[in-house]
Amino acid sequence: MVAIENILVAAVSVFALALSGIAILAFRRTRDIHIIFLAAAFGVFFVKGLLLTLALFAGSIGLTDLFILSGSLDLVILALFYGFTLRR
């Protein structure tokens, strides 16, 4: 009877925000510009959490739209991670 979607979306948002924060601190410490990729990736993850929260509370979003939104953000996140691995 638990509306699990609420738990998931809240947990994702908190974890993503924490990891973005850690990445930003890592950048400040090392001044390695590539770490910005990681911070951005986790930041987009956080944005995804926010958008899913909005979709959950603001009302109906079709399965197709949800799929496209989620998939697009996942693509951006993975592209950022991949870009990070390409650094010299």
């Binding site: 850690i22 890592a26 410490r29 990681l38 990070f84 691995t85 390409l86």
Partner: protein, 182 residues
Amino acid sequence: MDEEVLAVKTRKDLYDFVRTNPGFHLREVARALNLSITLADYHLRFLEKHELITSSMDGEYKRFYPRSIPGGANERPALTDLEKQILAFLRQPVPLRILAFLMEREAATHKEILEHTPVSASTLSHHLKKIQGAGLVEHPEPREHGYRVSDPKAIARIMATYELATPDQIDTFIRVWGEFRL
């Protein structure tokens, strides 16, 4: 903690002890800090070589004294840009290990450093490049001789004066993601 980093800590303890208890001789210093005579001697000689302490013979005893630093022995002096840079590197676990390792030797090749540092070759190259770029380490001709520290005294002074933190969550993040490369 590996040998070199432990050495840094031991040396700092010795330096602090000499500063607060000037005039003690070798055996007393060793006993006070629970070190073997040999080890204490080795580290004290390192500190003396890098002009952080000085010694004088008093009969058969060699006594150790702090070297006076402008601004007072107990104050931390204002840092120059170079010193700030050194500190920044020393606060990161991998550069700390590299510098601590190089401080013990005249020079070391990439391969030798790699044996003592728990990272991949490409990560080591990345860090060496950064440290070299900051001017802390040089890689002079002939290249086969390897890398060496540019200004050991400055680094030794910073190592002895400041707390070098054990890695925190941010450091772990940096180290782990540092390996995440093609």
